[in-house]
């Protein structure tokens, strides 16, 4: 019991996990104020003042070439250089985010870089929006109220004791091999107690355990979420980094970046992700270096032929 107390509330973890799964495009501000290269710092000042924003991207035929922040504007003001072109004062080393990235990547970008906003681009590298912390907070509040409504509904219709519906999120810390495996064994026991066929339980256990160990061995920490309904188990792993350089390599059996210590724990054979992919009916992975990795595995529970041979 005392161990449980240290864990954040399940409801807050769950909201966080749902939030992580949103796409940046669903959360960002789509109406972006941008300026072209020929604009002056004075133009930027007017835009910022009239719209109460703190950063304006600079574009050259829709491509982001820089951003003018409040700081840049103040520097120009101090020098009395408001009629200079934005090119002179903008921050040109701008970090953009892709609109189809999971929001979790955006959140780690805020933690990693000191920017207060990130221009968002589409596949053609064109500016489509901007992500600020305010967007993240709004999404969080939206998700919280949705979760609250859901909980109220559940209070009105409490589920049966042997109902398969179940949702839980586990937090995992780097190198915490002590606790790596706890989530999987809890889920395994739950499915077993609800009479799910052993072969399916095994597949869920393999996917869940490998993802759990991946978070512990390879990420700087993250969360593992389970969403179980009568017909499927959905497992999602989110971490805050470091991200996978080459996903194809990571999915190749035998490829591993594990260090000696991880190997001494019995892991690092390069079979983790391939094992997950093999046992899952649906598998998706996304990763960005410096921002994190998201893996989702779905296993269907209504497979008649799964009882064969066992």
């Amino acid at each position: 019991m005392s161990e449980e107390v240290k864990q954040p509330l399940q409801s807050s973890l769950r909201v966080q996990e749902l939030l992580y799964g949103l796409r940046i495009s669903e959360v960002m501000t789509q109406k972006v104020f941008a300026v072209s290269k020929n604009c002056t710092m004075r133009d930027v000042r007017v835009i910022m003042r009239n719209n109460e924003i703190s950063g304006v991207p600079v574009v050259d035929s829709k491509r982001v070439v820089g951003i003018v922040t409040m700081n840049d504007l103040m520097n120009a003001l101090e020098e009395g250089a408001l009629d200079d072109s934005v090119i002179t004062w903008m921050t040109s080393e701008v970090k953009t985010l892709a609109e189809d990235m999971p929001l979790s990547f955006g959140i780690s970008a805020f933690g990693k870089f000191s920017f207060r906003q990130f221009p968002v681009v589409n596949k053609a590298n064109e500016l489509t929006g901007i992500l600020t912390f305010r967007n993240v907070n709004h999404a969080l509040i939206r998700e919280l109220s949705r979760q609250l409504r859901h909980m109220e509904q559940q209070n009105e219709n409490p589920p049966d004791a042997d109902d398969l519906r179940f949702a839980k999120v586990y937090q995992l810390a780097r190198y915490d091999f002590e606790n790596g495996g706890k989530a999987s064994s809890e889920i395994k026991k739950f499915l077993k107690s609800r009479g799910v066929p052993p072969k399916l339980v095994r597949r869920v256990a393999v996917a869940s355990y490998e993802l759990e160990i991946n978070l512990v061995a390879h990420s700087i920490g993250g969360m593992l979420g389970f969403d179980i309904t009568a017909d499927r188990v959905k497992i999602s792993a989110h971490d805050r980094g470091p991200g996978i350089k080459n996903i194809e390599d990571a999915l190749t059996e035998g490829f591993s970046t594990a260090n000696e210590w991880i190997r001494s724990q019995g892991f690092g054979a390069g079979m983790g992700l391939p094992n997950v992919k093999r046992v899952a009916d649906k598998f998706a992975i996304e990763s960005a270096v410096g921002m994190g990795t998201m893996v989702q595995a779905i296993i269907y529970l209504n497979q008649e032929n799964e009882n064969e041979g066992q």
Binding site: F177, E178, G180, G181, S184, S185, K188, P198, R202, A205, V206, Y209, E210, I213, Q265, G266, F267, A269, G270, M271, G272, N275, R278, V279, Q310
Partner: protein, 109 residues
């Protein structure tokens, strides 16, 4: 073969004897836990030098009923405790994985 039948083998010493006396239908020899996780069959005896608490976690998830630790590798106390909690028998032997596998294969027939 039952787990308890392993105790009659001279080469093996039982170091964790609080276990479910389940059926052993086959064996799996590996030191890579992901390999065990992905490929070992249920009701296997696991032959390994990987004496670690994680071995128990994997064995429990994979449905392994007994573990034989080869080459006299020491078994840490937290590993044995985890095995006790899961009801998995742990044996130790001075032999290597090859000889132990051969011995078990013979015993399984």
């Amino acid at each position: 073969m039952k787990v308890s039948e392993l105790t009659s083998l001279e080469a093996l010493t039982c170091v964790q004897d609080t276990y479910t006396d389940a059926e052993i239908s086959t064996g799996y020899t590996s030191d890579l836990l992901s390999d065990v996780m992905g490929n070992a069959e249920e009701n296997s005896v696991l032959i390994t030098i990987q004496a670690h608490k994680n071995t128990i976690a994997v064995s429990s998830l994979a449905g392994i009923t007994a573990i034989i630790i080869c080459s006299k590798r020491p078994c840490p106390e937290d590993m044995l405790k985890a095995a006790r909690d899961e009801g998995i028998a742990v044996f130790q032997t001075a032999d290597n994985q090859f000889n132990t596998s051969a011995l078990i294969a013979q015993k399984l027939g």
